[in-house]
């Protein structure tokens, strides 16, 4: 088993690290997206949403104490992001060296946009994650107009509708990028872990497409609802 620690040495090993950490990311976004939907009154509404946000700290109770499991989850996610980005950056460096002279003319025959723009999309998502935390987790003044600790619902609505809805628009753009990233990424997980073949590839593509639409679409409902005034401050 210690052999697994040598994965980082080969390009394939780094891709496997990328796939596994990406899989954690997909799992996280599913849960996060599902949690977000509690902001809508037909599922929960403001109070329910605030309760949920606060309740995350009691995750795993009674085995885990106040905030303990939440911090473990945060650290695992942080480690995954670091590994995912590290693998992406080093692999990108190898690849750009490998094609040291560019073609005067290059045409793709079947590549999807999602596959060609993984790195650009990934970079955008990385910036988005930092912004998103500054915006709605830490509520840094200037990034969030009036952040009140514990008022998750109002923070959300005020945060997205401030500055002429620019944050909401940025969230929407980031969710398009997320959808593309998951569409190629989720299928790639199977390919990279060697679980794909010509029989499974179409169903797996369909699964990735479904994940991409459900996750990105589910997330996008929040900023859209704020823009269209469906979610109002409570």
């Amino acid at each position: 088993m210690v052999g697994a620690l040598t994965l980082y040495r080969s390009t394939i090993g780094r891709k496997i690290i990328m796939a596994l950490t990406g899989l954690v990311g997909v799992g996280f976004t599913v849960g996060h997206m599902y949690g977000n939907l509690k902001a809508f009154s037909f599922i929960g509404g403001p109070e329910y949403f605030n309760e949920y946000a606060e309740g995350l700290r009691e995750l795993g109770a009674p085995i885990f104490g106040h905030g303990h499991l939440l911090w473990i989850v945060r650290l695992v996610l942080l480690a995954c992001i670091v590994l995912h980005v590290w693998a992406a950056v080093t692999l990108y460096q190898d690849s750009s060296q490998a094609r040291n002279v560019r073609y005067a003319q290059q045409k793709t025959l079947q590549a999807t946009l999602a596959s060609l723009y993984m790195r650009v999309g990934g970079l955008l998502l990385f910036i988005f994650i930092i912004y998103h935390m500054a915006h709605l987790t830490w509520g840094i003044p200037g990034i969030h107009p009036n952040f009140t600790y514990g008022e998750a619902y109002n923070n959300l609505v005020y945060g997205l509708s401030s500055y002429f809805y620019l944050p909401a628009i940025f969230y929407l753009i980031a969710m398009v990028a997320l959808g593309f990233h998951i569409y190629h990424g989720a299928w790639s997980v199977f390919q990279t872990l060697g679980l794909n073949n010509r029989t499974y590839t179409q169903p797996l593509r369909a699964l990735s497409l479904t994940l991409a639409i459900v996750i990105a679409g589910g997330f996008a409902m929040i900023p859209l609802a704020v823009i269209f005034g469906i979610l109002q401050p409570a």
Partner: protein
Amino acid sequence: MNLTLRIWRQKSKGASGQFASYPISDVSPDSSFLEMLDLLNEELMNKGEEPIAFDHDCREGICGMCSMVINGVAHGQDREPVKQVTVCQLHMRRFKDGETITIEPWRAQAFPVLRDLIVDRTSFDHIIQAGGFISVGTGSAPDANSLPIPKSKADYSMDAAACIGCGACVAACPNASAMLFTSAKIAHLNALPQGQTERYQRVVNMVTVMDHEMFGNCTNIGECAAVCPKEISLDFIANLNRDMMVASFQGVTPTVSLNGANK
């Protein structure tokens, strides 16, 4: 057909190259792409100019020598119906009269240009040397059918063995990755009972050399399989990934010497 050819000219390895344009007239639509280049070379030689250097040998799509990127596509087959072929099997009727055709060599750090359209594909040989063999006792030939192999396994192995090592996969890959080639060379042995002895050592050694030769990494875009004249599929890459993962978990370390390789 009358055409304008924009061809990459480069004197030698490491020299700087540039495109040169050549008009060519009266090309038969039934001629092959290489015959068209022969025609141009004849004209160039008659004028006392240097002919265009390009690799070719069998001219029937089995040796894998011919190698050029035509209008941005490795082996040049980009129009319907897309049935991939090698450059030598490409017909001029695929092109339009009056068209300008851009011809470039394979572009990869691991495939340095030697002259004009000829690249050095020794890096592929290094990958094969690292593990593209099986250990068998030589001497008297084994009895036929002494080793039963299921038909599906044999077919799978044959599909992988169809690779002619032309390098179009590397040329077409936006990352200049050699994963399709390497995976095919590994799969045709790893699929068979004779290949089991060195199975995981083979994977680790060949991947180590592949990385060392400065090929890029696979991002599952699939352009390699799309231009492959032998229709090698992405399945082999998935299998390579799986074998590599198992090998890593087993703690197999490379035993290959990297002296001959590029880096």
